[in-house]
Each structure stands twice: as structure tokens, then as C-alpha cells.
Amino acid sequence: MILPLILFILGFTLLPVLQCIFYSFQDRITEEFPTLANYRLIVGNPKFGDALKNTLIVTAIGLTLEMGGGLLIALLLTVSSKIKGLFRTITMIPMGVPTIVSGVIMLYIFSSNGYFNEFLYRIGVIKLPIDWAQGGIRTLLMVAVADMWKVTPLVVILLLSGLESIPANIYEASAMDGASPYQHFFFITLPLIKPFFTIALILRAIDAFRIFELPMVLAGRNTMFLGTYAYSEYFDYNNIHSSGAASTILLILIAIFVFSYVVTVGAKEVDE
């Protein structure tokens, strides 16, 4: 039963991935293999260091915001209220917006005479527009927030299906035992939805590491990310080899993150 799934995914993707990794170890001009020339080329570029740093920071900020916000929204969604159905539908909308479109929306908001600056200007916080794409932490924060708008629904839906799978009688039992809502949340809800939390976190981390379209629209190629780097090397500079090298580094980075998360957090689960 598992075969169609694995065959489908690996059948189509394994070869292209391996091929791409192969290119990354092949010299662009002499076609010599294996060589580390491409890696030396990109790691030697100061821009690459920035891209690595930016990717890590934006992932950290983004994940914190998204997981926190997602959990909050998911919890609010479990409380029944009159507008619950509407609320639920609304929370899902951003996910259906293509990234390129969300980039344009966010550019309307964060460009130098965008609506966010206009808002700050009207409430009197600023006189002159803030340049959100200036670089540094400010830009990373903008990218993380802009990304959060689109991707938090994924977290919400995953956590929600976790929350919904907690049988109602557990809540009743803990209420009878006199547990405070606070205790209830930390000792019952959180452990029960932990597997879902893990799924959401890993899924989001993988995509957050690969971010490229949104920052490209919002900050041009001035604030580089690893994903932007891989894209730009291939599509702007026609270099499949250095692009492959950047992709491979990204793959390794993601793999390290996922494995260390699974080993530290996942191992505990096995013990339980």
C-alpha cells in the first residue's frame, strides 16, 4: 500500500535531485568531476555569507511568529462562537494566494509610500517614510511578517486537526479534576498536539529555509537568501553548477535542522 506513494515521489524526483547534486560537483567549463570549484566560488563570495545568515535569521523569526500565531489562532478556533465557521474560512484565505501575488500585496504595504508607512504617518509616529528594504534586521523582519501572512494558515490547519482530535471527554475529565485552564493547556493540550506541532514545524521550516520569491519582490536582490541565491545563479547568470551547489548546501542545512529536531524532540516521543 505504501509503494505507490514512495514510487511516485522518488520516481520523479530522486534522479533530478541527484543530477542537480552531480552538477554542483562538476566544473562549469572543464566539466571535470568531482570538484569543489563551485562550492569554493560561492562560499568565497561575501554575499553568500550574508545569504546564509539572512536565511537562518529569517527562518528563526518566521518560525517563532508562525508557530506562535498559528497556535493562538488554532486555539481560538476551538472555542465555539457564532462566527466560528466564518473565522475558520477567513484564516485559510491567504494560503490560496500565490506567493507572487502575496509579494505584490506586501509591496503595496511595505514599499516606501506603502500603506504601512502611510498608517504610521497618519497616526503621527513617523514624518518621513521608513525604508523597509534597507537591509539588516528591519528587512528580515518585514520579510518574515510578510511571509507569515501567507503561511500561518498551514500551521493553523495542522494544529487545529491536532486539537480537534483530542477527545472531548479528556477536557471534561480534567475540568472535573479542578485543573486550571493554564494547567490544562500546558499539561494536557500541548503534549497531546505535540506530534502535530512537530509536523507543522518541520513543514514550515523546510519552506522557510527555501524562501526566495517574496524577498525578491520586497527587497530586490539586495538582501540575499540561499533560495534567492540558487535562483539567481541559474536564471540570471545561467550557471546550473553554482546554483546546484547553493541548492545542495540548502538541502544539507535543512537536513541538519530536521534531523536534530527529530533526534532531540522526536526521541523523547519514542521514550514516552
Binding site: 514624518k127 534597507q134 539586495n222 550557471n239
Partner: protein, 422 residues
Amino acid sequence: MGKVLLLTMIKGIKKPKGRMFLMKKAYRLLLGLVILSLLVSCTTMAAPKSLKVIMGLAEEEWNVMREHIFPAFEKEYNVKIEAYQTEAQDTEKILEARAKANRMDIDLISQDNMRLATLVERGLVEDLSEYRSLIPATVIPALVDVGEFGGKLYFLPYRPNIEIAFYNSLKFAQYGLKPPTNWDELFNVARTFKEKEGVARVAIKADLSPCTTVHLFDFCRSAGGDPVVLDDKGCFEAFVFLQKLWPYLSPDSKTANWNFMNRHIATESVYLGQNWPFGMNVIVKDGGKKEVLAYQGWRGPVKESHVLGGDVIGIPKGAPNKALAIEFAKYLMSKEVQEKLATYNGWPAVRSDAYGTVEEWQRPYFDAINEALKYAEARPNLLYWDAVDKALGEAFREGVIEQKPVKPALEKWAKFIRDNKR
């Protein structure tokens, strides 16, 4: 043929021989399919019913094509033109995927001449050297050169294009400024806006995409430099000037490409910026910003220079209807079509003997284009164009955006170009 195939299949069924039979049957079936597909392709070769074309056009331009350009050709050759929209950056993706799959279904492309080297290097387009004689004698020579790589002609000229400078005339009048015609004036205008409004209002396309490269070519060349060499005196002068200018350039420069530049100008975030002429349709016609006018731009200390852009025609390798595609290319270069394109689209003609009468509102912009075209210089055709592109972008990032010393930055990236020469 079909009859023979049928007979062999029937014969096969009559003589069952276990596994061998099955294999034979499969083999015959395969053979039959191959023959059948050959037959089908033969018939299409004999009388093409449609010509598949991809172009990157705005909606108004598509309407012009469908109403005024395609029908005459369709009628003459009894063929249907299937034309589809593709952005320049996607053309290479689309062709490469089809070429690798050995299923080229596109007969003709029109492509931005800034993105040709990749098509040639990846072997995606036909060598059209034998059709050189089809190019009308009146076509501007620089436009023919653009399509040449390593002595071979890969592309046919069909549309010249050049950047013009859009400016917000109301804002300029408000501060008593005139559109700058040289670097000093440019610097003054940029500084004045920043001082008066607290925000810089002059932008260049500095998103470090190929758009930035175009600007840098203009700056370097008009200071007498060669951007392909990069560490010569002219480029040095240009980069030093840009470094000085950068603090007075709009923060929107960083996101400005050929698309967002229009928006920054239309939303009055930017008062002066260069862009391709299609901006007039977007900013003035659709956006109703009549105060945004255009002129040819500024000259440098040595001369005035503008990169000659535009679209060229190419034929994908393995195009199913090459002969007809060549006819269509010929048609697109004809005087009649060029005059229509000038009249309805406001495109300058590719040949000196074609004149169009543009609409009244377009005239000032059209004049600016023609004025700028007088100082047009083609971009060099290098297979290592990507290295030049990258070096210019990186040198700009280090020397201008990060305000690091210009000389080492230029030397470093000039070396990169030399190392990647092919």
C-alpha cells in the same frame, strides 16, 4: 501503410506462440505506432495548419497583433497563428523543457535582446545565418549585430527599443527644476529633491537584476568606459559618480525593475527614473498620470549613450514549421507591418523607411524614443554575457550600495569577467 500495419497485426493474432508472440505483438504495435506518428508528422509538414508563436506583450499590444498584424498573414498562407504570452525570463525555461523532451512545438519566438546568450549557449535556437539576406537593407545595422554570436546569426531584428527617462513634470515645476541633461544636473536634481522633501525622489533600477546592467552600461559608456573591461578609467569614473549619487537616490531603487519602476513613478514615490517606453501605456494611459512626461535622458562626461534594447525573432531548434516561421519573420520585418506597429503600438520601426503616425498623446514619448535612439549603442554579444551581468551587479553592490572603495571592487570583478571568458 495503414493497411499493411493492420495485416501484420492480424497475422500476429493468427499465430499465437506464447511469450514470444506477445513480445512480437508488442514490438509490432510499437513499430506501427512509430510509422503512424511519422505519417501524421508528414502530413503536418506538407500543409501546416497552425504556427505556434510566443511573445511577451502587454494586453494592448496583443490586441494590435490580433487585429492588425496576424490576419493578413493568416489569410495569405491559409494558416492559423497560435500566439501565446510568455515573459522574457520564462522563454528560455519553456524552450529548454521542450528541447530536452525532444518535443518542440513552438515555431517562432520573439525575445528580449538582453536575454539571448542563454538561448544560444543552451543550443535552443536555430542558426539563421543562411537567411541573412532576408533582412531588409534599410534595417538599422546595429539591430542586426545584436542577433549575432560568434559570427553566426541566430536572431532576426524586428523591434528596436530604448529606455527613456520618465519624470513628474508637476513636481519638477514645484521646485523650479528642469529634467537633468548631464551628470551634474542629475546629481543636483537628486540632491534638491532629497533636501526639499527629506526623501530621495530619483531612482535607478538597482534591484541587481539584468535591468541594473542596462543602466550601468549607459553610465560606463557615457564616461568613455567599456563595461566588459570594467576596470578602465571610464567605468571607474561612472562608479565613483554613482557612489556619490547613491545616498540621494530613492530607497525604491532597490526594488525597481522594469515593472516596479512604473509603479514607483505612478505612485509619486519617484519623480525621475528611466524605463522602457511601454511605461507610457501603464503610467499615462492606464494610470492617467498625464503629468508624467518623458525625454531622452542624460549624457555623461564623454558622450551620450543608451543601450539598444528591443525584441528579436528566433526559431527554436526543431521547430515543426521552420519554413513557414521564416516567412512569418519576413512578414514581421516588412515595411507594411513595421508601419502598423509604429502607428498602433508606438514602437519605433526597425527599418529607416517605415514611418508610423502615432496617436496624439503618444507623440511626446515617441519623440523622446527617437531622440534617444540617436545615441543608441548595441550591447556586445558575448557568450559569457552572464559573467558580465554578474560582475556588473556585484561591483555595483560593493562599490555603490555598500559604498566600499570603487577601485578594488572593479578590479576584483573585472578579473572575474576575464576568468570566465569563453
